[in-house]
């Protein structure tokens, strides 16, 4: 295992210490490992928090700041945070008008956030939770854990954060987050496995001429292993299931998000974006906004994911609204 770390045990703590030093103008880091917007709580503003295992940087800690999250709860690598963190974050951002939990749909995240919400409720803070579950690689079924929350979460946090900044109320924000969830779909693929630091070796073996289609963001193997293909073929293999799922239709305006998984250089993401744009153009779908970069990662995994969000004027306005965080800023 080759990583710029000291020990796996100290990795998250040291990362948070580095973030606190680098972004002291935006955030503070508090016990038990939560990243809180510097000026939180703000009276009369709904707090918006999220969280999940570490290893997906910049998500979520890099999205704490003006116009996005009020706090983030990073768990151990690929491990949902514990309820103590979400409870502390909820208290830290409580401006008296409730707190929204944006939860990615993983069994662990759901249960830990659930316990935290129960405890916050008992402490007199109104909490609403919205579950992001946008990964079309997973069959959407009542009989399984359901779809994973992936790239759509980044977009939801930006959009909901923008509305929260304008003092929308808790119910409105929860509905808005649900609206993003209802209109967003993603899928990812891996060229290589990632290596969980504490495990010390790649999560899965993969041949030099193979790839995994439909991976999540935790090094979970995908639904299917295929022969390595060209960027255009890979883009097609991700884009078509996404488009067909919602489905996205001729005349739709979308936000197209091409995301690197941590070990993928930017040059490759633009190659994917180019093909994605051609595919959407061919179907009469307009890219109204885009995002290209590594925003929701899987440690050092090489690979990418594509996320499409159907936009309307409201979502565009909120996407365009100012944001000032470590990872997204305009």
């Amino acid at each position: 295992m080759k990583k710029l770390i000291n020990t796996p045990e100290r990795l998250v703590d040291e990362e948070l210490a580095g973030m606190a030093l680098a972004h002291a103008d935006l955030i503070r880091v508090e016990e038990p490992n939560i990243i809180v917007r510097r000026d939180a709580p703000r009276k009369g503003k709904v707090g918006v928090i999220s969280g999940g295992g570490s290893g997906h940087e910049p998500m979520h800690g890099g999205f704490v700041g003006l116009g996005m999250l009020d706090a983030a709860c990073p768990g151990a690598v690929f491990t949902s945070p514990v309820p103590d963190q979400m409870l502390a974050a909820t208290k830290a951002v409580n401006g008296g008008v409730g707190v929204l939990h944006i939860v990615k749909n993983y069994t662990g995240d759901i249960m830990n956030f659930e316990i935290a919400a129960e405890l916050a409720g008992a402490a007199g803070i109104e909490v609403k939770s919205v579950v992001m579950a946008d990964d079309v690689a997973v069959k959407d079924s009542l009989w399984t854990a359901g779809r994973r929350g992936v790239g759509g979460t980044v977009l939801a946090e930006k959009i909901v954060g923008a509305a929260a900044e304008k003092n929308a109320d808790l119910a409105t924000l929860a509905a808005l987050c649900q609206k993003v969830q209802d209109n967003v779909r993603s899928m990812g693929m891996a060229l290589t496995s990632c290596t969980v630091p504490a495990a010390g070796k790649p999560t899965f073996e993969i041949g030099d001429d193979e790839m995994e289609i439909g991976v999540g963001i935790h090094g979970e193997p995908g639904r299917e292993r295929r022969k390595l293909a060209t960027a255009d073929e890979i883009t097609e293999a991700l884009a078509v299931p996404i488009i067909d799922d919602l489905p996205f239709k001729r005349g739709d305006r979308v936000l197209a998000f091409v995301n690197g998984l941590g070990g993928t250089p930017l040059i490759e993401l633009y190659v994917v974006y180019r093909k994605l744009a051609a595919i959407l153009d061919g179907r009469g779908i307009t890219i109204a906004r885009n995002l290209v970069g590594s925003y929701i990662t899987s440690l050092d995994m090489a690979g990418c994911s594509i996320t499409l969000l159907r936009l309307d004027d409201e979502l565009i306005r909120l996407w365009d609204a100012p944001v000032h965080t470590a990872a997204l800023r305009w």
Binding site: T79, M111, A145, P221, R223
Partner: protein, 210 residues
């Protein structure tokens, strides 16, 4: 023939030790159908529990389990944290302030733990989770709880292992393994494996010697 807090604390300690020893094995199982952290998660939690065990040994069995559960919830995270946390919490709540635990009371407590896990995780039998080891184990223990404790514990451990193995060929329907669809079949479930270790620890630590 009642069980003391010290004996139960020993059982928890045995569980912690075996989890530590099985850390890599559990993580490897989780690599195949999950995210390669189950051993790491459980070991982080049980190591934290071990640190408060000396203190808990002084109190009643209810407090022992309640504190164990709370410690797991606040240190493990992931799916296994709330699930094992809830399991021990419910054990504790069920036992209340009973100073000593009879096998029958323990059976009731284990049942409460199992129901807690099912309520929290919403997994059914056959979904390929820890529930598949826990359910037959609790049932076996219930069946034998009026007889010899050692025998009942042995039956529970055997039933756990049986449940664990029964769902190995099955396609997972809960937890991360479910994302794999058909590809999850043929892999042993990490959580069912740690649950089997739990019941084996109870068996070995609580067995009446002789």
């Amino acid at each position: 023939m009642a069980i003391t807090t010290a004996e139960l604390a020993d059982a928890v300690d045995t569980f912690a030790g075996r989890i530590h020893a099985a850390k890599e094995e559990l993580t490897t199982l989780d690599s195949a159908i999950g995210d390669a952290d189950h051993g790491i998660n459980m070991d982080r939690g049980m190591s934290a529990v071990r640190e408060i065990l000396r203190e808990l040994r002084q109190g009643d069995p209810g407090a022992l389990f309640t504190q164990t559960g709370m410690k797991l919830i606040s240190t493990v995270g992931g799916a296994s944290g709330p699930l094992y946390g809830t399991f021990f919490l419910r054990l504790g709540t069920s036992l209340g302030e009973t100073p000593e635990v009879t096998p029958r009371r323990l059976a009731e407590a284990l049942r409460a733990g199992l129901e807690g896990v099912k309520a929290r995780g919403k997994a059914e039998l056959g979904d390929k989770t820890m529930v598949d080891a826990m359910t037959p184990a609790v049932e076996a223990f219930e069946a034998g709880a009026d007889g010899d404790l050692t025998t009942a514990l042995a039956a529970a451990a055997t039933a756990a292992a049986g449940g664990r193995d029964r769902v190995t060929p099955v396609v997972a329907r809960k937890g991360r393994a479910s994302y794999l669809g058909e590809r999850s079949a043929g892999h042993q479930d990490p959580g069912a494996t740690s649950t089997t270790i739990l019941f084996e620890s109870l068996r070995d630590a609580l067995a009446v010697t002789g």
